[in-house]
């Protein structure tokens, strides 16, 4: 989702430096000796927006909830592309998809119980979906647009969702979609589709989250400061293939100063550095020198780019857009991102199926850009001297990104202006077609690992006056029809359409609808009592706490 990144500007959401200290090990030695099994301390930069599975949407939330609220499906606990694979969780197997991709049927595993001991019923699935809709989960449109009858339920025209039928006796679950929708399996893997008892009240419970089925149970929530994930005592008995049984409880403390966070992990008083924040440069140096065996940089399924509005001058001209692509100094953005950016020119990130392996149209993506050539291209396109207003959010480093981009536009012959506004209003503002933003920064973190989730950013058929997400206003019939076709491919069958997805990615970059800078990366840094190699870094949810083992 847009701007749903992890780096909050001034919104330092927490502090609680030592709540954890006291809990994690008596501020030093005493705790460590008393119990070999943790808890392990995770220092996080931002608090989850909500620990209620049917409310939380930020990466800090899903990182915490995906192992607490399993739904019918989840992601493989594996690194890299392997970790983008959907596997059955509470469902006994992958669904049977019939009726041209509009009918999903599956069965619940037998003998499942919630962490409080309540037996799991098939109808709890329906309840979770209904609860997410009623609580206005930010991404509820994934449910209301695709499940038959969910829209009517949302609007209060129906008392239940007609498209979902369940049988508590047999555990059968059947879902009818309004139209074929390939990524629906990904939707079912959202923590928001995680099962909760049907007795859970329909109100947000961020501080006292309901029971779920999963390796962990959330406890002791101090909003904005800390929370704990204890091992679900009922998990081991019903362990599900592919989902590890955790060995250690997790204590998460929110502390927005990355410097002191890093210090704590480097000095082994905390165990895991939060992936949502880049490591400050001094800590990077220190980590590389003193902790190279427990520090690495991992890719995140995210793309950062500048959109180029194709409906107004000068970027209605392909050669003007190509000039930008040619001039882009990606090395500069890497520095502005403190090194946590993998330069690239494709809208689909590397670990997602559909990432292209051909060469970039504007030259080597790691290069510093060819200003002279770009200037020539601008001259030839006849757009030289035109004013361009570049929009951006005012948090760092995006503000600096925009400075750099505007400066580049000046250098290749435009007259650039900047409009940098509060991050909370930025996306709604540029998503309004009437704003007529000529160019601007955008970063997009996947909703789920599926190429269409990225391709839709240039989907001309989705353009709407407000809350539009095709910021470039690209209208390209090839893209639109390919998105439609790829969108019907069930997530489990994606590997069969790799070539087609890659061709689409190439097409987008050769038309330079967006000037991609690259893909954000995240630090993986642990204390030396953590088994670094065993800790999985999920491409979807970041460090996988269930695989965290203390030596």
């Amino acid at each position: 989702m847009f701007g749903r990144t992890q780096r909050l500007a001034i919104a330092a959401l927490g502090c609680a430096a030592a709540i954890g200290l006291a809990a994690c090990g008596g501020s030093g030695g005493t705790g460590k000796t008393s119990s070999a099994v943790g808890p392990a301390t995770v220092v996080a930069a931002s608090a989850p927006d909500s620990l209620d599975p049917q409310v939380g949407v930020t990466t800090s939330s899903t990182e915490a909830t995906w192992n607490v609220y399993l739904g019918l499906y989840t992601y493989a606990h594996a690194n890299g592309t392997a970790g983008t694979k959907v596997i059955p969780a509470l469902a006994a197997g992958l669904p049977r998809i019939t009726d041209g991709g509009t009918f999903y049927s599956t069965t619940l595993r037998k003998g499942l119980v919630f962490s409080d001991g309540t037996p799991v019923k098939a109808s709890d699935f329906t309840y979770a979906i209904e609860r997410a809709i009623k609580l206005n989960w930010e991404n509820k449109s994934f449910l209301t647009e695709h499940i038959a009858g969910a829209e009517a339920y949302d609007q209060g025209k129906a008392s239940s969702i007609s498209g979902i039928s369940t049988d508590d006796a047999t555990g059968a679950i059947q879902i009818k979609l309004t139209a074929p929708y390939g990524p629906f399996l990904n939707v079912l893997a959202f923590p928001a589709a995680g099962l909760i008892p049907s007795t859970t009240p329909i109100k947000a419970l961020p501080n006292d989250p309901p029971p779920g089925v999963g390796p962990y149970v959330i406890a002791h929530v101090l909003p904005g400061r800390s929370f704990e994930e204890q091992i679900n005592p009922r998990w081991a008995a019903q362990a599900i293939p592919g989902i590890p049984t955790p060995s250690v409880a997790i204590q998460v403390k929110v502390q927005s100063n990355p410097g002191s966070q890093a210090d704590e992990v480097l000095s082994n008083s905390a165990d895991l550095f939060d992936w949502n924040t880049p490591l400050p440069p001094t800590s990077v140096r220190q980590a590389k020198q003193e902790a190279s065996d427990r520090y690495s940089v991992e890719p995140v399924a995210q793309v950062s780019f500048f959109f180029l509005n194709t409906s107004v001058a000068p970027f209605n001209s392909l050669s003007a857009r190509m000039a930008v692509e040619t001039a882009l100094n990606r090395a500069a953005y890497v520095r502005l991102a403190s090194g946590y950016l993998r330069p690239g020119c494709y809208l689909v990130p590397p670990q997602i199926i559909g990432y292209s392996h051909s060469s970039c149209p504007g030259g080597e993506p790691t290069g510093e850009g060819d200003i002279a050539k770009a200037k020539q291209m601008v001259r030839e396109s006849g757009t030289a001297g035109q004013p361009v207003t570049v929009w951006g959010p005012s948090d760092s480093p995006h503000r600096e990104f925009v400075d750099n981009f505007a400066q580049m536009l000046d250098a290749i012959g435009y007259k650039a202006n900047e409009r940098v506004i509060s991050p909370s209003t930025y996306y709604p503002t540029v998503a309004k077609v009437a704003t007529k933003a000529q160019a601007g920064f955008a970063e997009y973190t996947q909703d789920f690992p599926n190429p269409v989730d990225f391709d839709q950013l240039v989907d001309g058929s989705s353009i709407q006056p407000e809350a539009n997400h095709d910021f470039s206003l690209a209208r390209d019939s090839y893209i639109d029809s390919e998105i439609e076709a790829l969108g019907k491919v069930p997530a489990s069958q994606l590997p069969s359409v790799v070539a087609r997805a890659e061709a689409l990615t190439d097409h987008i970059s050769h038309n330079a609808y967006v000037a991609v800078i690259g893909y954000q990366e995240a630090p993986k840094l642990t204390s030396d009592r953590v088994d670094f190699g065993a800790l999985v870094f999920s491409p979807v949810y970041g460090p996988d706490w269930t695989t965290l083992k203390l030596k």
Binding site: M1, F2, R4, A9, I10, A11, A12, L13, G14, C15, A16, A17, A18, I19, L21, A22, S27, D49, S50, V55, V57, N136, E138, N139, K140, S141, F142, T144, E145, E151, D154, Q155, A204, P206, L222, P223, G224, R225, Q255, S256, N257, G259, S260, S422, P423, S424, T425, Y427, P428, T429, A431, K432, Q464, P465, E466, A467, H469
Partner: protein
């Protein structure tokens, strides 16, 4: 005439207890002030940004229908005055929910209060002590010899530097030199007193120092001037002529009278910081107090928390200024409660 001043000029009801009349007048003034402030805040945030709050709330892949739903659900389709009344009702029934985080704002402010109270109490004591100490020293030096007057000037320069510092610069410098370089103190954050008193203290020292640098200079200048003024007054000269020792005169008369402006100043500063006024200091030290919550909420254009916090600030200031006036009256029999 301010609403307040007008309330003050009402004739004291005959026979009524002066303290009661005082309380009633202040209460009436408070209601007026809170009303006006809430209205102004609401208008600034609801009217100025041309963006529809529903759009900010709707999230990214929102359909037009969803935006419409939110508009209706949150009442953004209603006339502005209905929206205002609705929000005020929610605030006073404790049911107000923030736009961006969708949490109960009153609870959030409650969570943030301990940090802010810790900051206020510790810092205000420190800055008052230092301010009074330096002011007293300055006044004594000012009446001394040549060398002493140089000392007075040095103190003046020091005070002026403190007064002229931006809050975040003070914070940055303290954090850098005492935190990063010397590693004497943690780099920000707040630890509840009940959790770990020692950690609480080490986390609070830099923020306290920071506010002290900002405020003590001003206090010392005010006190110094006030002492020098009082010393010139006739009753002090009389006392000295009567042969009362200058030390006693200083303590019993001069200081006592000169502290009057300091007390009211202190009360108001205390109130301002307690009500979340230390936006910058709380943000720099990441105390996660009321002020930081206000700063974050303004960034997000999140009206409910901003309204609640401005009202809180105003409320605390009104109450504490009443308390200060009572204190003043106790200190100085010439002051009448108005």
């Amino acid at each position: 005439m301010s609403a307040v001043a007008q309330a003050r000029s009402l004739p004291t009801r005959r026979g009524g207890h002066p303290l009661l009349a005082f309380a009633v007048r202040r209460l009436a003034a408070m209601v007026l002030v809170l009303f006006a402030i809430s209205l102004l805040t609401f208008l600034i945030f609801q009217v100025i940004p041309n963006g529809d709050p529903a759009l900010r709330l709707a999230g990214k892949l929102a359909t037009a229908q969803e935006i419409k739903d939110i508009r209706i659900q949150w009442g953004f389709d209603k006339p502005i005055w209905v929206q205002y009344l609705r929000m005020m009702e929610q605030i006073f029934t404790g049911k107000v929910i923030s736009y961006t985080q969708r949490v109960n704002v009153i609870d959030e402010v409650g969570e943030a209060l301990p940090a802010t109270i810790s900051l206020t109490v510790g810092a205000s004591v420190l800055w008052l002590m230092l301010g009074v100490g330096l002011g007293l020293m300055g006044a004594l030096l000012a009446r001394g010899g040549r060398l002493a007057r140089i000392g007075d000037r040095a103190l003046g320069a020091l005070a002026m530097t403190g007064i002229s510092m931006p809050a975040f610069l003070v914070g940055d410098l303290l954090l850098f030199y005492l935190g990063y370089k010397l590693r004497l103190f943690p780099l920000g954050g707040y630890v509840p007193l009940t959790e770990d008193p020692w950690q609480w203290l080490t986390h609070m020292i830099l923020p306290w120092l920071s506010l002290t640098v900002l405020f003590a200079g001003f206090y010392s200048r005010v006190l110094r001037a006030s002492i020098l003024d009082t010393m010139g007054e006739s009753y002090v000269r009389t006392a000295r002529a009567k042969g009362i020792s200058s030390r006693r005169v200083m303590l019993a008369h001069v200081l006592r009278n000169s502290l009057l402006p300091i007390v009211s100043l202190w009360g108001l500063d205390f109130a301002a910081v307690l009500g979340g006024g230390a936006l910058l200091t709380e943000t720099v030290f990441n105390l996660h107090g009321v002020g930081q919550y206000a700063a974050e909420s303004t960034q997000r254009l999140d009206i409910p928390p901003i309204l609640v916090i401005t009202l809180l600030t105003a409320f605390v200031v009104v109450v504490l200024s009443a308390v200060t006036d009572l204190l003043q009256a106790a200190l100085d029999p010439r002051v009448r409660l108005r």
